[in-house]
Structures are given as structure tokens and as C-alpha cells.
């Protein structure tokens, strides 16, 4: 099977002020695969995820060192000359807690198009329906598209947030513990959704739930105290980890 790199992290260090949160991380993200990042709290997995769309730029005192190369053009996205807003137009993100905007369901999905200056109703309408269908939410909301998104259930809200991201045709979708605030049924729906999404998109997901990583991902990276301990195909990580620390974590001896 031929796989290509979508992104490559090289010797990445990340600092919150003077605290080094990521230490010399190098990892390759395969195109149209799900890469899971696991590890105990504070291990740096979410920090790394938020480097991919330069979310850290929003807060003062954060500093990157090293490179994240985004393919096909092979540009380092951590370069200060790269506009993070341009970058975020290509890389979508789904957050830990569903965070729909205080707008209608329709406007939530249309948001990304609107901030890009698209105003034609026909284009937006089409894209909203397509995205909601793809996020398996259309049938549940098609009769109340103009109701406030906050009236939806937590699981529906999270799928709405996914639909919102899909509407802008991202190349990579970042999932930051997308199911940690959801019940098991809603979680299952999101996991199934991730399975279909990887046909079109490259997915990076952070999770606390190791079963989830095992179920949805093709590759798994194990982080501990800001370092990448082990990175391999998911089946290898869970059946035959090479590093003792990984084995201890996945068997539940700590974390």
C-alpha cells in the first residue's frame, strides 16, 4: 500500500513561556489515515495537536522551535512568515467540548464560508447540506436548520462542529479528545464518523481513551512528559509495544 506524508514534524520543541512542553518531537503524519496521540494528562499530546493549526499563537509567551512541514508543497508552517489564518483555512479542528457558535445550525456550518467572504446563497446552502449529510446529522436537523445550535444534544453539537469543519474542505482535521464530554452512544457515532472521514481527510486525534485509539486509528503515538516515547502502527503499539513505558501505560499500570 502506498502511503504519502501529509505532514512531518521535525525536532519540534514547544515552550509555554519558559516551560518546555514538547521536547524534540519528530513524527510523520500519513495522508488519509487516522493518527492517534495518547498519553497521560500533561504529556504534551494536546500541545502538539494545537501546533498544527498554530492555535498557540493566540496566547502571548508561547514559542515554537523546529519544523512542521505540510505537504504537498513542503512548507514549514511554523515559519513566522506563514499566516496562521491562511493555515487554519486548510486545517480544521474539533474541540474537546462541543463549542457551537451562538447561531442557528445553518449559520454554524456556513460560518467558515462566510469568513472567507462567500455570500452566494446557493453555494452556501449546498455546502451546508453536503457537510451535514457527511457528518451524519442532516436527517436529524433538516427540519430545524434555523433553530439555535445550542438546542441540540451534546453529541449532535459535536457532529455539528465536525460538519462546520467539513464545510471548508480542510486537508487535515485535528480532533482534541472529541468524545470526552459525550455519552457512549454519541461517542460511537463520532468514532464511526471518523472512520468514514479518513477516506477524504487526514485525521489527527488526541484521546484519553485507549480503546478508542485502538478502534479508530491506523497509527498511534505515545507521549510521556513532553517526549514522544513510541510511534508505530496502532496494532503494533497495542499488541507488541517495543518500549516498556508504552506497555505499562496501555496495560493501565500508570496514567
Amino acid at each position: 500500500m502506498v502511503t504519502t506524508f501529509k505532514a512531518q514534524v521535525q525536532n519540534l520543541h514547544f515552550y509555554y513561556g519558559t516551560v518546555e512542553a514538547l521536547k524534540n518531537i519528530s513524527i510523520s503524519i500519513q495522508e488519509k489515515k487516522v493518527t492517534a496521540m495518547i498519553g497521560p494528562s500533561g504529556c504534551g499530546k494536546t500541545t502538539l495537536l494545537r501546533c498544527f493549526n498554530r492555535m498557540h499563537d493566540l496566547y502571548p509567551g508561547n514559542r515554537y522551535e523546529g519544523e512542521i512541514t505540510l505537504y504537498p508543497e513542503g512548507k514549514n508552517i511554523l515559519d513566522p512568515k506563514v499566516d496562521p489564518i491562511e493555515l487554519r483555512m486548510r486545517i480544521g479542528m474539533v474541540f474537546q467540548k462541543p463549542n457551537p457558535f451562538p447561531k442557528s445550525i445553518y449559520e454554524n456550518v456556513a460560518y467558515g464560508l462566510r469568513v472567507r467572504g462567500i455570500t452566494q446563497k446557493s453555494i452556501i446552502g449546498e455546502k451546508v447540506e453536503e457537510s451535514l449529510r457527511y457528518a451524519a446529522l442532516w436527517d436529524e436537523v433538516k427540519d430545524r436548520l434555523y433553530h439555535l445550535a445550542s438546542n441540540l444534544s451534546g453529541g449532535q453539537q459535536q457532529r455539528l462542529c465536525i460538519a462546520r469543519t467539513l464545510a471548508i474542505d480542510p486537508e487535515i482535521i485535528l480532533f482534541d479528545e472529541p468524545t470526552s464530554a459525550l455519552d457512549p452512544t454519541a461517542t460511537q457515532k463520532i468514532e464511526e464518523l471518523m472512520e468514514t472521514l479518513k477516506e477524504k481527510y487526514t485525521i489527527i486525534t488526541v484521546t484519553h481513551n485507549m480503546q478508542q485509539a485502538a478502534r479508530v486509528s491506523d497509527y498511534t503515538a505515545f507521549f510521556y512528559l513532553g517526549e514522544l516515547i513510541e510511534f508505530d502502527k496502532t496494532e503494533n503499539i497495542f499488541t507488541n509495544p517495543k518500549v516498556k513505558k508504552t506497555e505499562e501505560y496501555i496495560t493501565g499500570r500508570f496514567g
Binding site: 487554519r88 451562538p102 462566510r114 462546520r164 469543519t165
Partner: protein, 299 residues
């Protein structure tokens, strides 16, 4: 046994505290009711000698002249005109300041500037009155030479400056309370700083922002000193802000300071004006309340 004794005391305390809290709440309701009662009680004799129609539609308000007219319109007009001018200044400026402070300013700058802004509302209103009369009006006269010494424009603008902190401070609180993940969601979609502020933060903070506007409106309608000093004391049915005019509040000041005997029609006009003022602010509060409920954004 000891425990149950202890529990009994705690229960008793709970009942007492509930009683104290309830009576405090009741007090404020009773006081409001008493004020409304007095306003009505003193106004009823007035409406026995002046018809409601005359009160609402007569174009002159001259209760103290020998040829007395009792048309409230000139005072309402003066009140709304000064309020409008104040709001035209305060709402855009206050909102822009709030957006800047909440979304753009650094933490340190925000913490310094906000108390300074709030100081604006700590200045006694009588000082604003003289500021309007002796500084703002002469300044306006350099641009508009025909402006009279007492005028609505100067008073309205000064009142606007006075209520800016109500708008900016409360709106800023509302915007600042919008949770960060909501903003991050917007940024993650590729939105700019400004788009996030306008399209996500403001809608999310809408109910708080509306409250600040309503408070500013009520404050402007009820403001007394500035208009009494700087707007002139002439009931004037006009929409021209360059002319002098009188507001409901300024009229009340004027008459209260005079030596009108109790029970005369002139004396009762004070309460009638008070009642009118009360109804106007009540209307705004009801509108504001329903707006808040309608647009209440859950996040």
C-alpha cells in the same frame, strides 16, 4: 442526642436567615410600590382639572403662567432629544471601547484602563453640567456660531460622555465572559480577530450588551443636573438640537426649587412629570427585558 440538638439549632438558624432575606427582598418591593402609590395619589387630582387629551396633545407646557397650558409633549420631546444625542455618542463609542478592551487590549492595559474609564461615572453630575455649559457649548459655538448659550446639543453630548462607562464597562464584562473555547472555535475556522469579535463574541454577549444599552438609556432619561444646567429651562417643542429645551427632570428641579403651595395644580405637575418619567423608564426596562430573553444566547 447531641447531634439532634445541634441539628435543631441549625434548622432554626436556617429559618431565621430565610426570614431575614425574605424581608429584605420585600422591603425593596414595598418601597417601589410606595413610590408608585405616591406618584399616582398626587397625580389623580391633576387629571381631575386637566383632561388627559389636553395633557397628551397640547403643544405647550406653561403650568406656572397665568395662561396655563398643560401639554407634556415639549418636556417629553426635550427628554428624548437629549437622550438621543447622548446615545448617538455613547453607544457606538462605548461599544467600540468594549470590543477593544475585551478582544484586543493586553491584560495589563485592560486592567489599567477599565477603572480609569469607570472613574468617568464617579464625577458628580453637577460638574458635568458646568462642563457642558462652560466648555462644550463654547467649543461647539466655534463651529456653530448661531448656537445659543443654553442648548440641547451641548447637554446631550456631555451626557453621552457621562454614560460611556455604563456602556463600555458592562458590555466589556459581557464580552469578556464569553468562553475562550468559543473564540478558539472561530479562529480554528480561519476567522480573523475582527471576524471573531463581530460574528461570535458580540452575538454571544448580546444579552449583556443589551442590558448595558438599556441601563444607559434609563440613565440618560433620568439624568437631571446636566440638562437642568446646560439645556436651558424653556419647554420647547422642537427637534432642533441647537435650541434650548427642558426635560421632564429639569422641570421637576425647577418647580421643586420654587415655593409653590401644596395642593395647587402647579405643585401636582411635579408628580405628573414623575409619573410620566416612571412610565417611560418602565417601558424601556420591559423592552430590554424581553429583548434579553429573546436573544439570550446559551454558550
Amino acid at each position: 442526642m447531641k447531634t439532634s440538638y445541634y441539628r435543631r439549632i441549625e434548622r432554626f438558624k436556617d429559618t431565621c436567615i430565610r426570614g431575614i432575606l425574605f424581608s429584605s427582598a420585600l422591603c425593596s418591593i414595598l418601597i417601589t410600590a410606595a413610590i408608585v402609590f405616591v406618584l399616582f395619589y398626587e397625580s389623580i387630582p391633576f387629571f381631575k382639572s386637566v383632561s388627559f387629551k389636553q395633557f397628551l396633545f397640547d403643544k405647550q407646557w406653561t403650568p406656572l403662567f397665568s395662561d396655563a397650558h398643560y401639554g407634556i409633549l415639549p418636556l417629553i420631546c426635550g427628554t428624548f432629544l437629549t437622550t438621543l444625542i447622548a446615545l448617538i455618542l455613547a453607544i457606538p463609542l462605548g461599544t467600540i471601547m468594549a470590543i477593544y478592551l475585551s478582544e484586543y487590549a493586553s491584560h495589563k492595559f485592560r486592567e489599567t484602563l477599565k477603572p480609569l474609564l469607570e472613574l468617568l461615572s464617579a464625577v458628580p453630575t453637577v460638574i458635568y453640567g458646568y462642563f457642558a455649559l462652560l466648555f462644550v457649548t463654547p467649543l461647539l459655538q466655534t463651529i456653530l456660531p448661531s448656537l445659543s448659550g443654553f442648548n440641547v446639543l451641548g447637554a446631550g453630548l456631555t451626557m453621552g460622555i457621562m454614560i460611556i462607562p455604563y456602556v463600555s464597562s458592562l458590555s466589556e464584562d459581557a464580552m469578556h465572559a464569553v468562553p475562550m473555547p468559543l473564540r478558539e472555535g472561530s479562529y480554528a475556522m480561519g476567522a480573523t480577530h475582527f471576524q471573531t469579535a463581530i460574528r461570535v463574541v458580540i452575538p454571544a454577549a448580546f444579552s449583556g450588551i443589551t442590558s448595558s444599552y438599556i441601563l444607559a438609556i434609563s440613565r440618560a432619561i433620568g439624568e437631571t443636573m446636566v440638562v437642568a444646567i446646560a439645556a436651558g429651562m424653556q419647554p420647547n417643542l422642537t427637534l432642533n438640537p441647537l435650541e434650548p429645551a427642558q426635560t421632564l427632570t429639569a422641570y421637576i428641579v425647577q418647580v421643586s426649587l420654587g415655593d409653590l403651595p401644596h395642593g395647587t395644580l402647579g405643585y401636582q405637575t411635579i408628580f405628573v412629570c414623575g409619573l410620566t418619567l416612571f412610565f417611560i423608564t418602565l417601558c424601556f426596562n420591559i423592552v430590554g427585558h424581553s429583548l434579553r430573553k429573546k436573544f439570550r444566547e446559551v454558550y
